[in-house]
C-alpha cells in the first residue's frame, strides 16, 4: 500500500512520539525513582517526613499553621508566615496572593494587600508585645488611604478638595481628622471611590518596623517552612514564658534550627518553624 507523503509523515510523527514517550515518559522517571531509593536519597524522595511521638507529623520542607480551630495562634509554638494556600498551609491548593504593590483600596469582601499587611502587623505586634505600627497603616490596622475629591489641576492634583474619605476605615475616628482643611469622612460599604485621587498617607511609623517583613507578607507557595531570624527573635520571649523556659534556652533551639546561606552567599538565613516546634515539644 502506498500512502501519500503527508500521511506517512504524520504516521512517522506519531510513532516518534510514542517511542519517545516510552523512553522519556516511563523509563526515565522510573529510573530516577529507582536511584532515589538508595540510602540517603530515599527519605528525601519521599518528602522529608518528620515524626513526633512515633507518628508522622508532617514534612520538614512543608510549613504548617500553628493555630487553634478558630485560627488563633497557639502561644507555645513559634508562628509561621501568613499563607494563601487554601485555608493556610494546604498543600492541595498552593497559591500566592498575587495582589500588586499598589493594592491599597479594600473591596467589600477582599481586603487590599496594604490592609492585609497592616492587620497582620497589628496582630503580631499585640501577640509579641512589640510595636505593630507600620508606614501607610492606621492605628486600627488598615491601610491609611484617602480618596480626595475636587477639581484636578493640570498635574492631576487636587489643590482644593471638596470631600475627603478614608476609604478603608469603617468605624471610630479617621486616622487623620482633616486633610487640606477638609474634614475626613469614614468610608462606607458599597460606595465607589474610584473617582477620587487615591493618596496613601505615610504617617509617622518607623521605616524599620518592629514586626519584620516576612511576618506580614505571604510566601509564593503558601507552604513556606521558614521564617526570618528577626521574626523568630520577637517570638522567643512569648514561647519561653508559655513553656516555663528561659529565653536563652529557647534562643539556643532557634539557633540550632537556623540554616545560614548555602555556601555562604545563596538565599537568606532562615529558621525552620516545624523542626523548631518539634524540638521544643521534645524537651
Amino acid at each position: 500500500m502506498h500512502l501519500p507523503t503527508w500521511i506517512r509523515r504524520h504516521l512517522a510523527a506519531l510513532r516518534a512520539l510514542l517511542v519517545l514517550t516510552a523512553v522519556l515518559g516511563v523509563a526515565y522517571p522510573l529510573a530516577v525513582l529507582a536511584v532515589a531509593q538508595l540510602p540517603g536519597l530515599h527519605g528525601k524522595a519521599n518528602g522529608s517526613l518528620v515524626s513526633a511521638g512515633g507518628r508522622t507529623a508532617g514534612s520538614s520542607l512543608i510549613g504548617q499553621s500553628f493555630t487553634d480551630k478558630d485560627g488563633n495562634p497557639v502561644k507555645k509554638y513559634f508562628q509561621s508566615r501568613p499563607s494563601n494556600a487554601g485555608d493556610g498551609y494546604d498543600p492541595t491548593s498552593t497559591a500566592a496572593g498575587n495582589l500588586g504593590p499598589e493594592s491599597v483600596v479594600d473591596a467589600e469582601d477582599a481586603p487590599s494587600l496594604l490592609t492585609q499587611v497592616c492587620q497582620r502587623s497589628k496582630a503580631v505586634g499585640e501577640l509579641e508585645g512589640v510595636d505593630g505600627a507600620r508606614p501607610y497603616c492606621t492605628p486600627g490596622g488598615v491601610g491609611a488611604v484617602l480618596a480626595v475629591f475636587g477639581p484636578r489641576d493640570a498635574a492631576g492634583k487636587v489643590a482644593h478638595p471638596t470631600r475627603v474619605v478614608s476609604v478603608n476605615e469603617r468605624t471610630g475616628a479617621p486616622f487623620t481628622a482633616t486633610y487640606e482643611g477638609v474634614r475626613v469622612e469614614l468610608g462606607r460599604d458599597g460606595e465607589d471611590y474610584a473617582a477620587g485621587l487615591i493618596i496613601p498617607v505615610r504617617g509617622g511609623a518607623p521605616a524599620h518596623p518592629a514586626v519584620p517583613a516576612d511576618a506580614v507578607t505571604a510566601s509564593g507557595s503558601g507552604l513556606d517552612p521558614h521564617i526570618s531570624q528577626a521574626y523568630a527573635e520577637i517570638q522567643v520571649k512569648r514561647v519561653a514564658a508559655e513553656r516555663g523556659l528561659t529565653t536563652a534556652q529557647v534562643q539556643r533551639l532557634v539557633d540550632a534550627h537556623t540554616t545560614g546561606r548555602a555556601a555562604g552567599f545563596m538565599g537568606e538565613p532562615a529558621v525552620n518553624v516545624l523542626e523548631l516546634n518539634l524540638a521544643l515539644d521534645a524537651r
Partner: protein, 556 residues
C-alpha cells in the same frame, strides 16, 4: 554578609558556572549535531519511527516535519488529558475540560508551559510524567533542531538541504537532554525534591496542633529538572518552583537557574563551531550576556529598593517571596526565567514592585534572546543579527553580509516577518482582551496593574514564556482559547520563517569578505546588535508599558 553583597556573589557564581560549562557543553552539542555515526539504540528508534536517518531534508520538508510532529503531539496530549480518569495514577481527578485541555496541550507542545490549571488538583501523575514531561523534552529538542537548521543554513554552501529533523530531534533528546536531566534529577532529589507516586489523599498527617495536612507526592524531580533544562517552566504544582517540593533549598534554587541558562548560552559555542569561527559564537554570547547582566542588575535593584506603597509599608518586596530564597535571589530567578523562554517562577511576579515587574515583562518583550529558550534563543538572536547587518548596511553603506552570506531582500523579508509576529500577537491580543467583557473580567488587581496582568499574559503566551502575573483568572473559555492561539502562532510562524531563511541562506554560495564587509565579531557589532534589540523593543512596546507598569511605578 549583606543581602546586596550575597546577591552579587549569587549572580557572579552563576556567570562563572555558565562560563565553565560553555565550551564542554557547546562542543558536545556540536558533535551531537554534526556527527555522522548513528548509535545502535538510535538506529532502533529510527526503525521504529520508520525514517531513514541518512536522508537530508529541504527547508520545506524540515518545516513540515516539525509541524507534523507538533500537530500529532497536540492531539495526543489533548486526548491524554481528556481520558485521564480512565488511566493509571489519575488520583481520582476528572478529565480536563476541553478548553483547558486544548490550552494545556498547545502550551506544552510550544515550549510555553502556560498553566491555566493547578497541578496538584487537576493532573494525575501519569499525565504529568508521560504527557506533559515528555513534551518538556521534545519541545526543547524541536527548538534546538530549528536553531541548528538555521546555523546549517549559514554554514552550508549551495545546498538545498538543512539536515534531517528526525535525527536532530532524537539526538537532541537522547544525547543532550536526557543524560543531563537524569543526573540533574538525582542532584535535585539529594536537595529534597520528591520522587514518588503518592496520592495526597492517602498521605494525610495530623499536624502539631491537631489539624490535618495532605502531603502531596509525585514524580517531581524527573519533571522539575527538564522543566528548567528545556526552558519549559510548567510546574508540577501550582506554586511552581516556589513549592518546597520543587525547589527546597537556596542551593537548589541556584542549580535550577543554572539549568535554565546552560543550553541557551552554550549553543553560542555550538554555533561558532558549526560556522567554523568560534569568535562569531563569542560575539553572540557577548550580546546575550550584556543584555542579561543589565536586566538581572536592574531587576535586583528595583526589588531591593522596594519602591511602591505596599513594599514601603512592609519594608521589603517580600510578598510572594520564599524566606529561604530572599528577595535578591528571587529577582535573579525572575530575570533568568523571563530572559529565557522558561516561565518557571520561584516567587510571584504579580506582587513585585511596579518596575521590578516591568523588567520581567520587558525581558520577554526583548523576544527572549538573552539567552532565550533552548534553540529559540539562538535563532531569535541570529535573526536580530541579520537585521542589524541590514540596518548597518543602510546607515553606513556597508554591504549587508553575515557570515559570508548576502542579506538580500528575500532574507530580510523573512527576518522582518519573524520579528513582527510576536508584537502583533501581544498587542492585538491585549487590545482584544481590554475591549471585551470576558477579557476584562479576569483581572484581579484594578487600574494600571490590572492592565499589566493582561499585557503580561499575552506577552508571555506569544513569546512562549509561560510565567504570569498570576492574579489574572485565565481558566475561562475566552483566555484558554485566545492564549492558546497566541502560543501556537507565536511558536510556529517564527519557526517557519526561520527555516525559510535558513533554506535561502543554504542555497547561496559564500561571498568572500571584502573591504566593505562589516566584521561581525568585534565589539562594535556586539554593541550594534544590543542597540538594535533594545531600540526595536522600545519602539514596539513602550506605549503599552506606559499604560501599565510604568504608569503604576511613576505615580506611586
Amino acid at each position: 554578609m549583606s543581602t546586596t553583597v550575597a546577591g552579587i556573589c549569587f549572580v557572579a557564581s552563576l556567570a562563572l558556572a555558565v562560563a565553565v560549562i560553555y565550551r564542554p557543553l557547546g562542543d558536545h552539542m556540536y558533535r551531537v549535531y554534526t556527527g555522522t555515526r548513528h548509535a545502535r539504540p538510535e538506529r532502533l528508534v529510527y526503525r521504529l519511527i520508520g525514517v531513514r536517518p541518512e536522508t537530508e531534508q529541504t527547508w520545506g520538508v524540515y518545516a513540515r516535519s516539525v509541524l507534523a510532529f507538533s500537530v500529532v503531539s497536540v492531539l495526543f496530549l489533548y486526548l491524554f488529558q481528556r481520558v485521564q480518569d480512565r488511566l493509571l495514577l489519575s488520583l481520582g481527578f476528572a478529565p480536563v475540560k476541553p478548553d483547558q485541555a486544548w490550552n494545556t496541550a498547545v502550551s506544552f507542545v510550544t515550549n510555553t508551559n502556560w498553566q491555566s490549571y493547578s497541578g496538584e488538583s487537576t493532573m494525575g501523575h501519569l499525565v504529568q510524567m508521560a504527557g506533559l514531561a515528555v513534551q518538556n523534552f521534545v519541545s526543547a529538542a524541536v527548538g534546538m533542531a530549528v536553531a541548528i537548521a538555521l546555523v546549517r543554513g549559514f554554514a552550508r554552501r549551495k545546498s538545498e538541504h538543512l539536515g534531517n529533523f528526525w535525527v536532530d530531534l532524537v539526538r537532541g533528546t537522547l544525547r543532550i537532554l536526557l543524560p543531563i536531566a537524569f543526573a540533574g534529577a538525582i542532584v535535585l532529589v539529594a536537595g529534597g525534591v520528591v520522587q514518588n507516586f503518592w496520592d495526597a489523599g492517602h498521605h494525610t498527617v495530623t499536624t502539631l496542633t491537631g489539624g490535618r495536612q495532605a502531603v502531596t507526592g509525585g514524580p517531581v524531580a524527573s519533571q522539575e529538572v527538564i522543566k528548567e533544562l528545556g526552558t519549559n517552566g510548567g510546574g508540577f504544582y501550582n506554586a511552581n518552583s516556589a513549592h518546597p517540593f520543587e525547589n527546597p533549598t537556596s542551593w537548589t534554587n541556584w542549580f535550577e537557574i543554572l539549568l535554565i541558562l546552560a543550553i541557551p548560552f552554550a549553543l553560542c559555542r555550538t554555533f561558532g563551531r558549526m560556522v567554523g569561527q568560534n569568535r562569531q559564537g563569542y560575539a553572540i554570547l557577548a550580546v546575550m550576556s550584556t543584555i542579561a547582566l543589565a536586566s538581572v542588575a536592574l531587576t535586583n535593584a528595583f526589588q531591593l529598593m522596594h519602591h511602591g506603597t505596599v513594599p514601603m509599608a512592609v519594608g521589603a518586596a517580600s510578598e510572594g517571596v520564599e524566606a529561604r530564597f530572599g528577595v535578591a535571589n528571587s529577582a535573579t530567578f525572575a530575570a533568568a526565567t523571563t530572559l529565557t523562554s522558561t516561565g518557571a517562577v520561584d516567587s510571584f511576579h504579580d506582587s513585585y514592585t511596579s518596575l521590578g515587574g516591568m523588567m520581567t515583562m520587558l525581558n520577554m518583550m526583548l523576544g527572549e534572546v538573552a539567552p532565550g529558550g533552548t534553540g529559540s534563543g539562538l535563532y531569535g538572536m541570529l535573526v536580530l543579527a541579520v537585521i542589524t547587518v541590514f540596518v548597518a548596511g543602510l546607515m553606513v553603506g556597508r554591504t549587508p553580509e553575515y557570515l559570508g552570506k548576502k542579506i538580500g531582500s528575500r532574507e530580510i523579508k523573512f527576518a522582518s516577518l519573524y520579528f513582527l509576529t510576536t508584537p502583533i500577537l501581544v498587542l492585538v491580543g491585549t487590545a482584544a482582551a481590554m475591549a471585551t467583557e470576558s477579557g476584562r473580567a479576569g483581572m484581579l488587581n484594578g487600574g494600571a496593574h490590572g492592565f499589566g496582568e493582561v499585557l503580561y499574559a499575552f506577552t508571555s503566551a506569544s513569546n512562549n514564556n509561560g510565567s504570569a502575573f498570576a492574579g489574572l483568572t485565565v481558566n475561562t473559555v475566552w483566555y484558554d482559547t485566545a492564549l492558546g492561539l497566541c502560543m501556537a502562532l507565536g511558536r510556529f510562524l517564527p519557526i517557519v520563517f526561520v527555516l525559510a531563511l535558513a533554506g535561502s541562506l543554504a542555497r547561496q554560495g559564500t561571498t568572500p569578505a571584502s573591504e566593505g564587509t562589516l566584521p561581525t565579531h568585534r565589539p562594535l557589532f556586539v554593541g550594534m546588535v544590543v542597540g538594535v534589540t533594545v531600540v526595536l523593543v522600545a519602539l514596539t512596546f513602550l506605549p503599552a508599558l506606559a499604560l501599565g507598569p510604568l504608569a503604576e511605578g511613576l505615580t506611586s
